[in-house]
Point group: C2
Chain length 236, copies 2
């Protein structure tokens, strides 16, 4: 029952590629990740990935068992490399004091390869909960680092830790938001045609965050803010 059905442009009749399993799986994961970033998890079709790699779709099932198995494999690999990239960039000691440059690195890491998009996909589809040990404590680690530097500079006390933590959380949240809806927000702000608007905005954000971290004791500022807010909302 072989015969006729020269399925595709690949391999003329008789020649059959047989890659080592590891290499084939890597190729499949690459193609799948590409498709995932482009169109989302639900749009991932085995036949498409197979066509990209140049094999038939049961070959993928041979390697990964099922579509779900492929999904888990590709997300696991993507999240692992994302985390590795992040910690590598954050631990890079080339310029360990320039907060703006550090922020820029995180920006790049998240936005460049579409990592933020992928994570957003996973979170929205609920797959983000599956590997709960994925992006473990990255925010916390960075906050610890920053807060220690703040204390060393005499700009904060241990009690202000949450302020440092929230600052890093804001950075992370804004980075994700920017990676996903950045163009739309810029359009809504009337900055669409401005090519370097996104860079200006990121720079502005970095300055804001650094200024916040460098300013006088957050505890006092916090109290001041609370007092002002309380006075403003007396009427309710």
């Amino acid at each position: 029952m072989r015969v006729s059905s020269p399925v595709s442009t690949r391999s003329r009749k008789g020649t059959r590629r047989r890659r080592p399993a590891e290499e084939a799986q890597r190729a499949i994961l690459d193609a799948a990740e590409q498709r995932l970033l482009a169109a989302g998890p639900d749009a991932l079709r085995l036949q498409d990935v197979a066509a990209d790699v140049g094999v038939s779709h049961p070959a993928i099932l041979h390697h990964f068992g099922s579509r779900e198995g492929l999904m888990q494999a590709v997300t696991a690999r993507a999240l692992a490399t994302l985390e590795a990239d992040l910690v590598r960039r954050l631990a890079d000691p080339t310029d360990d004091v320039d907060g703006a440059a550090l922020l820029d690195r995180v920006f790049e890491t998240l936005g460049d390869r579409g990592h933020a998009r992928l994570v957003a996909w996973l979170v929205l589809t609920g797959l983000g909960d599956v590997p709960p040990a994925a992006g473990v404590r990255v925010v916390r680690a960075v906050a610890d680092l920053v807060h220690a530097r703040r204390i060393a500079a005499g700009r904060a006390t241990k009690a202000d830790f949450e302020d440092s933590l929230f600052t890093i959380m804001l950075a992370a949240t804004a980075l994700f938001g920017d990676a996903i809806v950045g163009p739309q927000v810029r359009a809504s702000a009337g900055l669409a045609q401005d090519r370097d608007a996104d860079q200006r905005f990121r720079l502005w954000l970095a300055e804001l965050l650094i200024h916040h971290l460098d300013r006088e004791s957050p505890a006092e500022a916090h109290a001041r803010g609370k007092k002002a807010r309380a006075l403003r909302t007396v009427r309710r």
Copy 2:
């Protein structure tokens, strides 16, 4: 994600409901929006929506022509109501000077009904580009409002407009990011079990933004920030 609740609120055999077209379409759009928010555009099945409403799936095709027609209708309605909610809340004159309350309203409007999730879905699936006149200039409008207030308070000049604009953009971006990856970021910060952590964070963010808008001339602060960065670690 396959749910297809067999709700079957349909009347007993023989009796057939016949609603006016407008009412039926509204019910269908409600159910479709619900499913969209829950599981994303690709997971929207006509039969599921039909089951939710209590009709057969060709009834939906009768009203909306095709699945794509339903998608367009529900997204158009959702974006329209989102924009309407936003401008209504922003234009509400009950307390027109309290920036924190205003920000809170936007927070609620975006996060409460899952609007941010929906918009994220649309942007990620590329459907966000289809209706380009959707969220037109909301950010710009808010920025105009805020900047005018700033000038009136003697806290800024016309030249500082971009600072106001970026502040609003940051708010919008962070709001979206929080609505999407908020829980994950909080978990990564080690705040998972803290129930009101999100509210504390939002309050903190509101204070940060308001403090930024209320502080002395942004132009000077901007220059100072640049200078400080140039000098690396100079504390003024």
